[in-house]
Symmetry: C2
Subunit: 332 residues, 2 copies
DNA sequence: CTGAAAGCGCTAACAG
DNA sequence: CTGTTAGCGCTTTCAG
């Protein structure tokens, strides 16, 4: 009952041709029309499916692409992953997924595992820096970064949301509402976004209003709560990700700060619950899915010409969490 | 600069032993202490990493496990995936992820792809029914279902949340608050949960208060809105998933139904935003991560003894979206 | 305890 | 256009 799968040899023998011919026909090589048809027929009859195992060994590389992201539980990354999967599926390529927890060491381990598997194409939301990535690249992995780059990895193509424009828009919107004391609540691996914030704020920037949390929910909450408690003079905050935004909402509620009366909030990344929140959250939407899809496209195209990557637009979606700076925030 | 990776042969020659010996040493076989040490040293020096490609072909199976889920964008499934990844990582196994979109056909395609890759262990949140799964199982894939089973696949081990208890608890809670007209808003592939709802409701059940949506957000919203509009006499609703819950909140708001005054809501699955919502949502929490982890454990243990699967407890978390049935809902 | 040898299923020269 | 052949890197008998 448990028949072994048909191999290329079975097909060859049944069709009365050599294995090479079968291989050629199935990979679109040259063959006489009649031979081709015969092979195809036999292959279909035998329900032949070429084994990736044999091919992989022969070519010294498993097809397929690796996907490394910090946390698959975060809907933003989930959407990026979805984009990658969509693209890979349309190319018939398997995707091996690993989560790094924003830990460069774990990232390196996963890369090692992928290389062992023969994976030589990688889409990553990087955690490590240039130094940590150097060995990987030297090893010849075709890599495309998604969502963010890594310091000292300027030569790796990256598909990014236009953080510069996003941050600038947010800051302009907030200052336009009269805010001056604007805080930034950031996460790991977003040095660039933070830099742009400083730049956009210009003389208004106050380093004490800048806090960066580690990746976890707890850390984000602690950062937000600490910020709000220690700097009661802030009137607006820009949260650099949906986890940070969530933490900000929670912390504000806990400290009895009302949005948007006591504090305005803009969050990076539009998530479904931004609309369910009350007040609903004003956000900078990022095309997460597209980021993943485009990154996968790039990596599948291979180390072709394309030297640099892609910049995708962001969009300010105004909802209810921002207000003009009214009379100063009530003392605490 | 681009040195080829060391192969087992390189190690053997450098250490002055046969390849078989190297293989044995590295896979914990028998070897004299000195030989073992020499091989290990050389392997380390050469930074030798055994190629999974070779091994896979030899063993006619790629290690690694396949993971099939409806939608990686849904945080519930994301958490399940996280659990699977966590377990697989601790076992050093790669995970190939595919999303089915709750489409049996697509599911079948993905399974085909996995088999081509030599994957022979699968964790799945199934979309298809027994008939659709039969070929897969016959082909010898070690399969474990997570989160739900498939009709006619009773013999496949499954790791499930205790839906029966969950639904019962929810219904009891609601009836305890005086509710009689309780609606059920379900999604695809949850026949069992629905069955339990009918059972738990007993004589109170009204088929017109039962609606099942397809997998998408739009479909969920349409279902919720339709239900609320056509059945203004309902006083409580049980949403069979976070997407459904989200849709219910949105639809209620749109129709100007206030929670919990006009309608009580219990949602399956506790998600971070349930607490951000206002009112915060009363939910049946499910151990999504555990479900994934345990499923991966089972599939890694292989087709061992364990005939049936595992049932994990759910928990009713009371927050603010339910109220005692007061005076009848205001007419519309 | 160890080495030699036989493939796993496939592709890519290389001849015919 | 087609068949033969030589491996890809590894594990696993089978002798020694």
């Amino acid at each position: 009952m448990n028949m072994r799968r048909a191999t290329i040899r079975d097909v060859a023998e049944t069709a009365g041709v050599g294995v090479a011919t079968v291989s050629r026909v199935l990979s679109g090589g040259s063959a006489s029309p009649e031979t081709r048809e015969r092979v195809l027929t036999v292959a279909a009859q035998l329900d032949y499916r070429p084994s990736a195992l044999g091919r992989n060994l022969r070519q010294r590389r498993s097809g397929g692409i690796g996907l490394l992201l910090p946390d698959i539980t975060d809907t933003f990354y989930g959407r990026v992953a979805d984009g990658v999967l969509a693209c890979a599926r349309s190319a018939g390529e398997p995707v091996i997924v690993g989560t790094t927890g924003d830990d460069p060491e774990r990232e390196a381990e996963l890369i090692g595992m992928l290389m062992e598997q023969g994976v030589d194409r990688l889409v990553a939301i990087p955690s490590g820096d240039g130094e940590s990535w150097a060995p990987t690249l030297r090893a010849g992995l075709t890599t495309v970064f998604a969502h963010r780059t890594s310091a000292g990895c300027g030569d790796i193509p990256a598909v990014l949301a236009d953080d510069r424009a996003g941050v600038r828009t947010a800051v302009d919107y907030l200052t336009g509402l009269g805010h001056r004391r604007i805080a930034y609540l950031g996460g790991p691996g977003q040095a660039q976004r933070l830099a742009v914030f400083r730049e956009a704020m210009g003389p208004l920037v106050d380093e004490e209003l800048i806090v960066v949390a580690r990746g976890s929910r707890d850390s984000a909450y602690a950062a937000a709560a600490g910020l709000f408690q220690h700097r009661p003079d802030l009137t607006a905050v820009l949260a650099g990700g949906n986890l940070l935004g969530e933490a900000a909402v929670l912390a504000a509620r806990e400290l009895d700060l009302r949005l948007p009366r006591d504090m305005s909030l803009i969050m990076f990344d539009d998530v479904p619950w931004a609309e369910l929140c009350s007040p609903s959250l004003t956000v900078i939407a990022q095309p997460a899915q597209d980021i993943g899809y485009r990154a996968a496209e790039l990596v599948l195209r291979g180390g072709g010409r394309r030297p640099r990557g892609v910049l995708l637009p962001t969009e300010l979606i105004v909802r209810g969490s921002c207000a003009a700076r009214g009379t100063s925030r009530s003392p605490r």
